[in-house]
Symmetry: C2
Subunit: 143 residues, 2 copies
């Protein structure tokens, strides 16, 4: 039986150097930026969590399609950006929003394939849902 | 003036296939597993957020040293694991805890360097704090 390969997720790993100072130390701005990036990529926002370090910010957003994360080191003008999106949504739409706001002078960016699954071709119709991760919510997350 | 290169963070990206079924659909177990992994790597736990999809679980833990994330696809026995740790802590200690519990049949794992900063050597004493990210907490995260 012939087989087919599916990739469950795409993960953009971006190193942004020389970013806009106004953002890197501001937890509210960073969280709003991640949420806006998620919205512009048509992702389903499930929850967000942001923490203000001294110095620096961590912001994470759970989306139905996986997650977005930023960690910043304002003392080095650096932001570590992760955009992990499964299904058919385009993570680069979220990336562009972040890039436009942080205005990095230099970027190193890679897209990783996450979850490469090999299935019998005959089962493919059963697995159409791979491209649209179900976002049915549980009653309440454990915390 | 001579210059020195610092790496702010180490990021383990792990693809775990053929994982233990008991974990992949259980949000409580997955969150406890991430928290235990963080503790075993001596990371400073700041916040966690877990979400139960049908099927699958997303669990994220913010640590003072960055974050841990798992997304699971129980229908494929697959878990996407990210362990991003800055400073001197060893992300492989957290990885090993997750590996031992999920018992994957097959793993693809990579360690990425995050935040490679070049500084004048003379400034190094000022930047000793790079290796111990400050975890002074803000009064209250924005949400």
């Amino acid at each position: 039986m012939s087989r087919i390969k599916l990739t469950l997720g795409r993960h953009i790993v971006a190193e942004m150097y020389g970013c806009d100072d106004n953002y890197l130390s501001n937890p509210q701005l960073m969280e709003e930026l991640l949420l806006e990036a998620a919205r512009r990529a048509d992702l389903t926002i499930v929850a967000s969590k942001t923490h203000n370090f001294i110095p620096g910010v961590t912001s994470l957003v759970i989306v139905g399609e996986s997650h977005l994360a930023i960690h910043t080191w304002p003392e080095y003008g650096y932001a570590a950006v992760d955009i992990f999106v499964c299904g058919s949504k385009d993570p680069w739409r979220a990336y562009n929003v972040i890039y436009e706001k942080l205005k990095p002078e230099r970027v190193k960016v890679t897209e990783l394939k996450r979850g490469v699954i090999t299935l019998p071709r005959a089962s493919l119709t059963l697995n159409d849902e791979v491209t649209v991760r179900k976002t049915v919510l549980s009653a309440e997350p454990p915390r």
